[in-house]
């Protein structure tokens, strides 16, 4: 009888989460240090734009309130405390909202985009890699390799612009149906059919609440940025799948499988695939970092209201609160993603002893 989460797995998860703590501390130190190098700490707490007209008294107030006159390590201590309590500061670049609120607003948008990108990458990348490997050196293989080589060499932001030019501008001036230029959803549609927020994911929410106009609009808006973001990861997964598939097909157990009289299909999809997926899954975890970086660029081009755009704006305007906030968040997300990847890895390969 199998349990849903065997004991070893549970212990493993707990252990990994505990190990996170020193790394998180290190990260918080890094973000703390960096943010203090950027701009004036006092200015960070001033409502946007009031830098010129403040009075000495106000400066003193701010310094006292945020412990800016105390030694650095004390400031770090207060910082860590605040984080734990949920006070991640104020985002000056985002209308002085608390950082936590900004995250709540922008994270779902980025997550939705990233999720679409991952799904597309896996759904297209794995089959493409398999085909490329099983039809090695034939035209299908060469075409796929060219496609994926381009994918890892192409600048995402340029590709995004290219997509906009082709699927928005060219289609539009030629009187053909075209895809939206930017944004997450059509504002008019949102206003006339207001969306009830359940998860913060427009696509999911619109399905749940049966809001078809918003669903269509969201879907059409996510196509171009989703694909722009996905291309590089798709290419990476295809390449990885191809090389690990080739490696697996050379193994002895494949010869045994053939000697049983199993058909080509069964040999590939039952015997080879599971083994070949293992390194691919690992690569996906690493690729996730690239997705986050790519999200920054994609969101800028498509004016997607997500973390990437917020982060860029924050850095460009020295919004310290925001910078510390999202840096910490991104690092956490990345680490959690890697943990998930490790778990999937263990689920695929029975040889991994999680102890």
């Amino acid at each position: 009888m199998r349990e849903a989460f065997p004991l070893k797995m549970r212990d493993y998860i707990i252990r990994r989460l505990l190990l996170l703590i020193p790394v998180l501390m290190g990260i918080s130190m890094v973000t703390f240090t960096l943010s203090h190098m950027i701009g004036d700490p006092v200015a960070a707490y001033l409502p946007g734009g009031a830098v010129e007209r403040i009075r000495e008294q106000q400066i003193q107030q701010i310094i006292k309130a945020h412990h800016l006159d105390e030694p650095i390590y004390m400031q770090y201590w207060y910082y860590v405390n605040d984080i734990m309590r949920g006070d991640w500061g104020i985002s000056r670049s985002d209308h002085d909202r608390p950082v936590v609120v900004s995250i709540q607003n922008y994270f779902p948008a980025t997550f939705e985009l990233t999720l679409v990108a991952i799904v597309v990458s896996l759904l297209m990348g794995i089959p493409m890699g398999i085909i490329s490997a099983t039809k090695k050196d034939k035209p299908a293989d060469h075409a796929t390799r060219l496609f994926s080589l381009t994918g890892i060499s192409i600048p995402i932001f340029w590709f995004a612009l290219l997509l906009q030019y082709t699927f928005f501008y060219q289609l539009k001036i030629n009187k053909l149906p075209y895809l939206p230029l930017e944004g997450r959803v059509d504002d008019f549609v949102m206003i006339s059919h207001p969306l009830k927020t359940v998860t913060g994911f427009y696509i999911l929410d619109s399905i749940i609440t049966g809001n078809w106009p918003v669903l269509i609009s969201s879907l059409s808006h996510i196509i171009l940025p989703g694909f722009a973001l996905a291309y590089a990861t798709l290419a990476l997964i295809t390449r990885m799948m191809r090389s690990s598939m080739l490696e697996v097909l050379r193994q002895d157990y494949i010869t045994l499988a053939k000697s049983k009289g199993l058909s080509e299909r069964v040999v590939i999809y039952k015997h080879a695939l599971k083994n070949a997926m293992i390194p691919t899954v690992t690569v996906t975890g690493i690729a996730f970092g690239g997705l986050l970086a790519g999200a920054v660029l994609t969101e800028t081009v498509f004016a997607w209201p997500g973390m990437g755009r917020w982060a860029t704006g924050a850095i460009l305007t020295d919004d310290i609160g925001a910078i510390m906030g999202f840096t910490l968040l991104i690092a956490v997300v990345y680490i959690v993603a890697n943990l998930i990847v490790d778990l999937i890895y263990a689920a695929l390969d029975p040889r991994i002893k999680l102890g």
Binding site: G26, L149, I154, P155, L162, Y169, I315, T327
Partner: protein, 303 residues
Amino acid sequence: MAELKSPLRMKSGISKWREDMAPRVRELRFTIYLLRQSPLVVAGFILMFAFIAMAIFAPWIAPYGPEERIWEAKLQPPSSQHIFGTDESGGDIFSRIIWASQLDLAIAVTVVVTAMAIGSAMGAASGYLGGKIDEVMMRITDIFLAFPALILAMTIAAALGRNLTNLTIALIVVWWPAYARLIRGQVLSEREKLYVEAARAVGAPTRRIIFRHVLPNSIYPLLVNATLDLGGVILTAAGLSFIGFGAGAGIAEWGRMIADGRNYLFQSPWMATFPGLAILLSALAMNLVGDGLRDVLDPRLRR
């Protein structure tokens, strides 16, 4: 012990060196032969050399100077006078792309070489010394590797100030941990090998062991990674410049040019198209070469 009078005189200096090098030269020739097998790899090398040549010979190739502006000729589509057209202030895009290659390639090479040097030194020290130092180094690299490259570079570049020099520094800081990890791994695995035991038994000092034995064997993965990273740095640097973290307005840098071109994307698409192609082709070249090297230098696939 009787005096050994060898009938042959001991080979001196150069001829001995040539003899020592002979097996290495043979390996090199075989490597080049293998590389020539794949047309894609050959294309990659040609592209790579083309870009390098473009950067070196820029002053002689570019029809117009980097800062040349002909206001009357602004926003012109590609023509015989301006092969790739002109931008919003009348600069010839073709020339600017060539001038920009100097900048982008210089940044890429600087970052990779420096990161490799720093990373290798740290990694070798960490791997060889082991113990607490190694643990600390691992945690440090963990922290750096926990951030996606672009985002970390963004933050550092912002902290230091937004210009090209700081961009380069930021990229070096982002890229060195990977090399440290790589070299450390190599040192650890080589350390277990018997010839190191042998060298130690003869009394060779640590430094000598690392330099003469460990590093030469690490050259292959190092070379492959360095080549692939050249492409990666070009892409990241361009991306950062695009958002506004590197080259300031008007500077001839590929990413910057695309950002400028974005404002005129629909009316004058050539402004953004060609610099992007330059990035694509140079990164492609690096990836092709890196891939080719990796396939060829893999000891299992040779023979």
